[in-house]
């Protein structure tokens, strides 16, 4: 159950090389939203658009493929996408909203749909929620320190950042790669991530991430009926190349292992909160 409920799992990548050129992995998020936009399944999507500073994203409502393309790639820092779902249905006038987010953000979307506190007429307008796998996230200052001080790269020069195989890697526009072991990054993690019990966006319509699939490819889980239908239509329309997950390495084994590690570690943190003080504990949002 560490991977949540899902109907199907494949390894996939976008068929459009233009999408792949600057996507993080297989370009699943960008390509699927572009398909949904063209098909009228959504009329816009909340994505992490460019912000004022390099690698500091701002949530935007993308209503064109060009805007989706601008938002490609992972920014390892907080981007409050959920803050835009209400506005998307207000001044943007959307009726069918797409949203991408980390597991916690997809949880927020689902909670807003079931318990719409101050979220009048938002719930029924969420048309496609794509979740991205997430082990942890970093505050912007933490990311800046990791990149500029530990990796010795100016934020302005970075073209891609990636976490994988035990390392945090920064790629520059001049072709250099700078890497540090992940254990150096731990102290910069956002503390709230340490109580997070979801690795693969269990509540999304479609979840995707890099782990499990080779470089340039993504692992894709279709979870809901809606997610399965849209994914099926996109495959039929030739938007993606796929391979059965059983045929790729490292496959679901590694994904399951990492998910288990995250949940086990964070469950322990949660349990410790109960006896954090002397005769008193800290809050547990799950009970």
């Amino acid at each position: 159950m560490v991977l949540g409920n899902y109907k199907n799992c494949v390894s996939a990548r976008a068929a459009d090389p233009a999408v792949l050129s600057a996507s993080q992995d297989g370009g699943i998020v960008t390509q699927l939203f572009a398909f949904a936009l063209e098909e009228g399944i959504i009329d816009g999507a909340v994505v992490a658009g460019p912000g004022d500073e390099p690698y500091k994203p701002e949530p935007i409502v993308a209503t064109t493929v060009a805007e989706l393309m601008e938002a490609r790639g992972t920014r390892y820092t907080i981007c409050p996408n959920v803050a835009m779902i209400k506005e998307a249905t207000r001044s943007y006038g959307l009726d069918k909203v797409g949203i991408v987010g980390t597991p916690c953000q997809i949880q927020a979307v689902r909670k807003a749909q079931l318990y719409p506190m101050g979220m009048r007429s938002v719930g029924d307008k969420i048309a496609l929620a794509i979740g991205i796998f997430c082990m942890e996230n970093f505050p912007y200052q933490g990311l800046e320190t990791m990149v500029e001080d530990l990796c010795n790269v100016k934020m302005e020069s970075a073209v891609k950042m990636d976490i994988g195989k035990g390392k945090f890697s920064v790629y520059t526009s001049r072709g250099a790669v700078s890497q540090i072991p992940l254990k150096l990054t731990h102290k910069f993690e956002q503390p709230g991530c340490h109580v997070c019990l979801d690795y693969v966006a269990n509540l999304a319509d479609v979840s995707t991430g890099s782990v499990g699939s080779p470089d340039g490819w993504s692992t894709v889980l279709t979870r809901t009926k809606k997610g399965e239908t849209i994914w099926g239509k996109a495959i039929e329309a030739g938007y993606f190349e796929t391979k059965p997950i059983e045929d790729v390495k490292p496959g679901l084994g590694l994904l399951t292992k990492l998910a288990t590690e995250k949940i086990t570690k964070n469950q322990k943190t949660l349990d410790e909160r109960a006896t954090f003080g002397v005769d008193k504990g800290l809050r547990n949002p799950y009970i």
Binding site: E87, R90, S91, G93, L94, R120
Partner: protein, 456 residues
């Protein structure tokens, strides 16, 4: 011999009120008081010292049916005090919001009024909740009109109940071209519906006017009197659609004509109920022997214009700006229906004129030097006036003169000459919004004694 009868509480309107009446032998009202019993929340006093940005957001919470009126009047009073002119596109967005709210509010009021009325040509009261035709389609049309109003409010206002988009200096956000098109489509969908609906509602109210006998829903049929709900008070309105403020060159409301008296000076003194009807729907009237004291119990001040009570609302707007002259309770109801089309075309014109790339916030938002500013917003129920003094961004003084407060004494006059059993029909014609009307200080809440001196 005159007797005292009291309907408490009254129903099918917003808030909490009662009707305390002296009637003659045939049950016709000779002196009536309609008064608010809604607990006072004291918005005006608690706003003092708060920022000019927060106060209108608080006054929005005076009422959830017409929060647009209080948000806009409050915001524009602040703007009037500090002398801030908002950009044209912000104004257009506010106009759209205003019209959307009026459509929604009038449609809601139809639901409240219809149970007193009859399916024209029959003796069947209209039950808006029945699944049967022809009423079912009417109810669905009403809900559709409300949905359009609330959806448009959501898009331009950020929220249809307590709009988030208006702010001192303009609006937080312009809307997207897609949103502009959506509003256009929704309004065009609503126009033919509203036209049919207006015709239907007017025929229902005319039918009622023409009947010799009538009852409130579920009540006993009594003989109606001529001039039902007539009064001799004047009208007050600042515009047909939007409003006026002290920043206007051509101001349409005159603070110097406004005075305020305490309920003590205006309402009836101590009385004892001497007539009771246990069958009055639903639950009967106040029991014989109950002591009542309107002058002490009323929770609103009595605002006067030129020294007398006035009527404000749809008929006042049409009477002052369109030569409308139908009197009585049904005259007011009919005027309200006539406003549907103005609102929808008002929205359409504004949304077509809107530049979605236009600026919606003033470049310069002064902090205020304590100058008195006022803004009148033509709320669904009439002229909603907010007056304020802002100094260094903080509210120094704040006062709300809301439509139903103006109408309380006027309705009291309009009750005279009507059979007491039908007085709620007169009151409902004013679409009362009593939480709006009740917002002043109380000295002693347990005894409901209103502050002696309320205005500087």
């Amino acid at each position: 011999m005159s007797k005292v009868v009291e309907i408490s509480p009254t129903t099918r309107h917003e808030g909490h009120t009662k009707l305390t009446m002296q009637v003659d032998d045939s049950g016709v009202v000779t002196r009536g008081d309609w008064l608010s019993l809604t607990p006072v929340r004291g918005i005006e006093k608690l706003a003092i010292g708060k920022s000019m940005h927060q106060a209108p957001k608080i006054s929005s919470r005076v009422c959830g049916i017409c929060p647009i009126a209080h948000t806009l009047a409050g915001t524009e009073a602040m703007e009037a005090s500090i002398g801030c002119i908002i950009p044209d596109d912000a104004y257009l967005l506010r106009v759209i919001l205003q019209c959307a709210n009026r459509v929604s509010s009038h449609a809601l009021h139809n639901i409240l009024s219809l149970p007193d009325m009859y399916i024209p040509g029959t003796d069947t009261h209209i039950n808006p909740f029945t699944p049967e035709e022809p009423v079912r389609s009417v109810a669905q049309r009403i809900q559709k009109l409300r949905e359009v109003g609330q959806t448009v409010g959501e898009i331009v206002g950020g929220e249809p109940i307590h709009p988030s988009n208006p702010r001192v200096g303009g609006m937080y956000k312009n809307i997207s071209p897609r949103a502009q098109t959506k509003i256009n489509d929704l309004v065009k969908e609503a126009i033919p519906l509203a036209r049919d609906h207006m015709d239907f509602m007017i025929s229902v109210f005319k039918d009622w006017d023409d009947r010799p006998m009538a009852s409130v829903a579920g009540g006993k049929e009594v003989e109606k009197t001529e001039k039902f709900g007539f009064h001799d008070q004047g009208y007050m309105a600042s515009d047909t659609l939007y409003g006026s403020s002290s920043l206007d060159l051509d101001q349409k409301w005159y603070p110097e004509r406004w005075t305020e008296v305490r309920p003590w000076d205006w309402y009836q003194g101590e009385l004892e109920v001497s007539l009771e009807d246990p069958d009055y729907p639903i639950g009967g009237t106040t029991p014989v022997g109950t002591k009542v004291w309107p002058a002490m119990e009323a929770c609103t001040g009595v605002p006067l214009y030129d020294g007398a009570p006035i009527e404000t609302g749809p008929r006042a707007r049409l009477a002052m700006f369109r030569n409308y002259d139908r009197k009585g309770a049904m005259g007011l109801q009919i005027a309200r229906q006539m406003e549907y089309m103005d609102c929808l075309y008002g929205m359409l014109d504004a949304v077509e004129a809107l530049d979605t790339n236009g600026k919606v916030i003033a470049d310069d938002i002064p902090q205020g030097d304590g100058t008195l500013g006022w803004a009148a917003n033509e709320a669904p129920r009439g002229t909603d006036i907010h007056l304020t003094k802002v100094l260094n961004g903080k509210v120094q003084w704040y006062s709300l003169l809301v439509p139903t407060t103006w109408n309380f004494p006027t309705v009291s006059r309009a009750l005279e000459g009507a059979p007491w059993q039908l007085t709620e029909v007169i009151m409902r014609a004013y679409d009362p919004c009593v939480s709006c009307a009740t917002h002043m200080m109380v000295v002693d809440d347990s005894k409901k004694v209103v502050a002696q001196k309320l205005f500087q």
